[in-house]
């Protein structure tokens, strides 16, 4: 890995993280308590990248451009681009421009061995290729939170989840429970699991529509992802909503405001609290901070 490329990647990484933070999207990937340290680290990366360029120029002065050109040329030489490979790449790039699946084709062309047993990419460069792909994807794709597909890959059993945040005294004893969000309710119910205490209480929450396996047909989960450190450890939590015919009105991943009151219900043989909405929940947009911590 030539030094100039190393510094470029370091700087790009920092720029990417700062770009996300400037659009307030870094929160979709990591817990808010890390925003400051991640931003500082990103700034440091940009600074080091620039310092690296300065250092290289100071060391090699005019020879720097020659070195960059030299490493690019020797890289392309190492690819052994014969005519057949060049045609293959050209065709793959054409497809990539036409359809998104063509992008997959381009990746395949680069990775899969040709008839002479060698792939376009030196085996030792596969990981480098992966890194470039993801840095590029980070810049090209819009930042997104996890979808309900990710939710269905994870357990939704509330018994296996204990929230990290402690219940503050005000939350525990306040009667402002009509302002609780999903996380507040789960903490409260964890602290006092006597379900009958909650029957009839008013509930106003926002979550995305998600139907876990094994749920009755008239129920869906108004869910959010519980994140402890970063999106990779996200688990879905939520409150069941009982609404006849909901699947005709809403699709998975749509965000809704649910207003209603708690009643007792049954899911998978277990007694749970379900929200019985006063009216059909409004559709809304994904909140800026979609996760619960």
């Amino acid at each position: 890995m030539p030094k100039w490329l190393s510094f470029t990647i370091i700087a790009l990484l920092g720029v990417y993280a700062l770009m996300l933070q400037s659009k307030d999207q870094l929160i979709l990937y990591i817990n808010p308590r890390y925003l400051l340290s991640a931003t500082l680290a990103a700034i440091f990366c940009v600074v080091i990248g620039l310092a690296g360029y300065i250092w290289l120029i100071a060391r090699y002065k005019k020879g720097m451009l020659r070195r960059i050109k030299g490493s690019v040329v020797s890289f392309f030489k190492s690819l052994n681009l014969g005519r057949s490979k060049m045609i293959a790449i050209a065709v793959a790039i054409l497809f990539a421009l036409v359809t998104p699946l063509g992008f997959v084709l381009l990746v395949l062309v680069i990775l899969i061995p040709f008839s002479n047993g060698e792939s376009l990419l030196n085996k030792s460069l596969v990981i480098e290729f992966l890194v470039f792909c993801f840095v590029a994807l980070g810049f090209l794709l819009p930042a997104q939170s996890l979808s309900s597909q990710a939710a269905s890959q994870r357990s939704t059993s509330l018994n296996t989840i204990t929230l990290n945040g402690e219940l503050s005294a005000t939350t525990l004893f306040s009667f402002d429970s009509d302002k609780y969000d999903v996380g507040d309710w789960i903490r409260r119910i964890n602290a006092n699991p006597n379900l009958r205490d909650y029957v009839g209480k008013e509930v106003n929450i926002t979550g995305f529509v998600f139907k876990p396996n094994g749920y009755p047909t008239d129920m869906f989960l108004a869910a959010r992802f519980l994140v402890s450190c970063c999106a990779v450890d996200a688990r879905p939590i939520g409150l069941p909503v009982r609404l006849q015919g909901w699947d005709a009105m809403y699709t998975s991943d749509e965000w809704v405001n649910v207003s209603g009151e708690f009643q007792l219900g049954e899911v998978d043989g277990e007694q749970v609290l379900v929200i019985v909405p006063a009216a059909n929940p409004d559709k809304t947009t994904q909140p800026a901070r979609p996760y619960v911590y």
Binding site: S84, G102, V131, F134, V232
Partner: protein
């Protein structure tokens, strides 16, 4: 005439073969494209698209979450490589067997380095007078018992402090056990490889300007750590999005199998200890706590990258002994935790 024909024939065959390949794949892509073009709202395609997007989100979240620790770990490692005077360290060590090993195992607190900076540093220590067993204790302990690793493990597993505790305690015990065991061997140089022995005799340490070492070490180590972080993130993302949950639940429930699989992953995925807690975190819903603890103890000490780097300095029998005890120690750690919980 015939000898001129052969290269051209090979070229043509390559051309046609790759053309066929491209045509075949191209036809498949076009077919799939038109199949889905009229079914873009088909559930299968949307599921695939959502999963693919989730995969990218997961990989990026591992990278972004680990970023502060990555930067910190590499920065400190570069500073250590530039400024540490090994002779001073040697003078400050206790002279007795147990004391010297224990102090060395705690040196990592002052000098957080993972394998990239660890092994060159251990080699320099040996060149400056440390015994092989002392260097081995440092090699095994420093990746775990250091501020950056402890902090990143703490942050990643806030809800399960047993993981951090077991990682540090097991690391300390294993590193000292192996080092002290090996220190009973009277001829310490017998543990070292021939190549390294020759290097010990002809010491010509190149002196460079401090600034050069600092910046060069930083970019080199950053790249080494970052590329493995991305690889680990990709593997974790694939495991989370592709493998059906039913398979995974079976693994998580089995006490022994999950530990073994995590240790195998730790062997193959040579991640730097300053950020491997994030990789382990992504698998924490699949593997039980003991398996995670075993991974976090085993990975920093022994993995394919470390072994290939140690090959140059130590004899095979030394590596076998180290690997055996590290494996046993990590496995037992995992078992104990699973039995307690």
């Amino acid at each position: 005439m015939l000898s001129q024909l052969r290269p051209i024939t090979t070229e043509v065959i390559n051309f046609v073969a790759s053309l066929k390949f491209i045509l075949a794949v191209g036809v498949c892509v076009v077919f799939v494209y038109f199949h889905f073009r009229y079914l873009f709202s088909s559930p299968d395609f949307l599921v695939f698209q959502a999963r693919a997007q989730d995969f990218v989100t997961l990989v990026l979240s591992v990278i972004l979450g680990a970023l502060p620790f990555l930067v910190l770990g590499v920065a400190v490692s570069a500073v250590v490589a530039t400024f540490i005077n090994e002779k001073t360290l040697l003078r400050l060590l206790p002279k007795n067997r147990f004391g010297s090993h224990i102090v060395i195992s705690l040196l990592g607190m002052l000098m957080p380095v993972c394998e990239c900076g660890n092994i060159p540093l251990a080699r320099r220590l040996m060149l400056k007078g440390f015994s092989a067993s002392q260097a081995i204790t440092f090699l095994l302990a420093a990746p775990i018992i250091n501020i950056v690793t402890i902090w990143s493990t703490f942050e990643a597993f806030r809800g399960e402090p047993i993981i951090l505790v077991s990682r540090v305690v097991a690391g300390f015990i294993i590193a000292n056990f192996i080092g002290i065991l090996l220190s009973y061997k009277p001829d310490q140089t017998d543990l070292l490889s021939n190549g390294f022995m020759m290097e010990m005799r002809s010491r010509n340490l190149v002196s460079q300007k401090k600034v050069d070492i600092l910046i060069d070490t930083f970019q080199r180590e950053f790249w080494l750590v970052f590329r493995m972080l991305v690889l680990g993130a990709v593997v974790a993302g694939l495991i989370q999005t592709i493998i059906p949950r039913d398979y995974l639940i079976g693994i998580a429930n089995s006490q022994v199998l999950s530990i073994l699989i995590m240790m195998l992953l730790g062997l193959i995925i040579s991640m730097c200890s300053s950020v491997d807690a994030f990789f382990a975190l992504s698998l924490s819903s699949i593997f039980n706590t003991g398996a995670i603890a075993a991974f976090l103890t085993f990975g920093p000490m022994i993995d394919l990258k470390i072994l290939s780097m140690l090959k140059g300095s130590f004899k095979l029998k030394t590596l076998v002994i180290i690997t055996f005890f590290v494996t046993m120690g990590s496995f037992i750690t995992g078992l104990i935790i699973n039995l307690i919980l």
